[in-house]
């Protein structure tokens, strides 16, 4: 069959850019809006600052942190996405969520001008995970949804699994606050 009518080119329009952080979990690259990252810390700084929590239904969370009167749950992002096990070297404290995300590395900070909705063919959990996909330097990167790491049900399970003396004291942050 000869080549048929080509796909229509994407209609150009006025573009705004959004600052994003490209980060790695193992070999996989992801993007996250920098506006949704409140703080970046070294995972080493968790030592002594984090408590243990075990909820059998939420194995991707093993630690929690107290931050400003709120309990944050540390999500192992490799476990969340079903990627090969990774300990995580950095922690992203995600703004307006109760999630602290363990990742392996920051690739770079950049900006995106287009976010394409996740194709409807992808119709399972990934629809909660991603805001969409973006093309950067001829590579397609999934843009994660900050609220997509812990569902309301998972938060209830984790809250119920917290140790009874969890309310004692707040931790002092030693991370670097991101300015927008």
């Amino acid at each position: 069959m000869p080549p048929t009518a080509p796909l229509p080119a994407t209609k150009p329009g006025p573009l705004r850019s959004e600052q994003i952080i490209l980060f790695r979990i193992g070999e996989q690259l992801f993007a996250l809006s920098s506006a949704s990252v409140q703080e970046v810390r070294s995972a080493d700084s968790l030592s002594g600052a984090a408590g243990d929590v075990r909820a059998a239904e939420v194995p991707k969370v093993r630690k929690f942190l107290r931050r400003g009167g709120t309990t944050l749950f540390v999500v192992n992002s490799a476990a969340h996405f079903g990627l090969p096990a990774s300990e995580g070297i950095l922690i992203f404290v995600l703004r307006d969520t109760r999630t602290a995300l363990l990742v392996d590395a920051i690739e770079k900070m950049t900006s995106m001008t287009r976010l394409q909705a996740l194709p409807l063919s992808f119709c399972h959990e990934e629809r909660r995970w991603y805001r969409g996909l973006t093309a950067l330097d001829q590579t397609v990167v999934p843009v994660v949804h900050p609220q997509g790491f812990l569902s309301a049900e998972e938060l209830l399970l984790l809250d119920a699994a917290l140790p009874l003396d969890e309310a004692s004291g707040e931790q002092t942050a030693t991370g670097s606050e991101l300015t927008q």
């Binding site: 069959m1 080549p3 048929t4 009518a5 080509p6 796909l7 229509p8 080119a9 994407t10 209609k11 329009g13 006025p14 573009l15 705004r16 850019s17 959004e18 600052q19 996989q28 992801f30 809006s33 506006a35 949704s36 996405f81 079903g82 990627l83 995106m112 001008t113 287009r114 976010l115 394409q116 909705a117 996740l118 194709p119 409807l120 063919s121 992808f122 119709c123 399972h124 959990e125 990934e126 629809r127 995970w129 805001r131 969409g132 996909l133 973006t134 093309a135 001829q138 590579t139 397609v140 990167v141 999934p142």
Partner: protein, 169 residues
């Protein structure tokens, strides 16, 4: 009046998957393209391999071979880019195929009650009876009940034609 006019011929694209041939309505085909890099990312939807970039558009890649011939494709020669309907919405999906495709005119014979859901009908061509594929049944997609919430997600990223969206925090 010619015989072909009486038969109400329709156009179909024949595609190869291994040794077998299948047909898709030509109305639902956009183009046949050479294989390009598949970008993969974590997800939970069976059959979905990832996405390709085509004319600045991100197109999902769906391997239908396992359903149709019982095994995944180890090699592919082209991607047949087809139109997939989701209720009122439509999107392109890239189907890996193993050989050249052919545009034919043939009469569609309706599927029977015992046919698989992915069989839209049958046609006869070159002495062979060929399945006409129903892409809506063959490729993944949200249930109708989820389409409304999906539409809301699209709005959240300010969907423009072709699901392109302007980025915003």
């Amino acid at each position: 009046m010619t015989v072909s006019a009486e038969l109400d011929l329709k156009s179909f694209v024949l595609l190869h998957l291994g040794e077998r041939r299948f047909a898709v309505s030509a109305e639902d085909i956009a183009e046949l393209v050479a294989p390009s890099r598949v970008f993969r990312f974590p997800h939970r939807t069976p059959k979905m391999e990832g996405v390709i970039l085509r004319r600045s558009r991100i197109v999902p890649v769906c391997d239908i071979a396992e359903t149709l011939i019982g095994k995944r494709l180890l090699s592919r020669r082209f991607y047949l880019i087809a139109l997939r309907h989701y209720g009122q919405r439509t999107e392109w999906v890239a189907l890996p195929v193993t050989g050249e495709c052919e545009l034919i005119n043939a009469e569609l014979m309706a599927a029977g009650g015992s046919d698989e859901p992915h069989v839209a009908g049958w046609l006869s061509h070159g002495g062979e009876v060929i399945e006409v594929l129903n892409l809506e049944a063959l490729t993944p997609g949200p249930e109708n009940s989820l389409l409304a919430s999906t539409a809301r997600e699209q709005l959240d990223v300010r969907s423009a034609p072709g699901s392109e969206a302007e980025a915003r925090p």
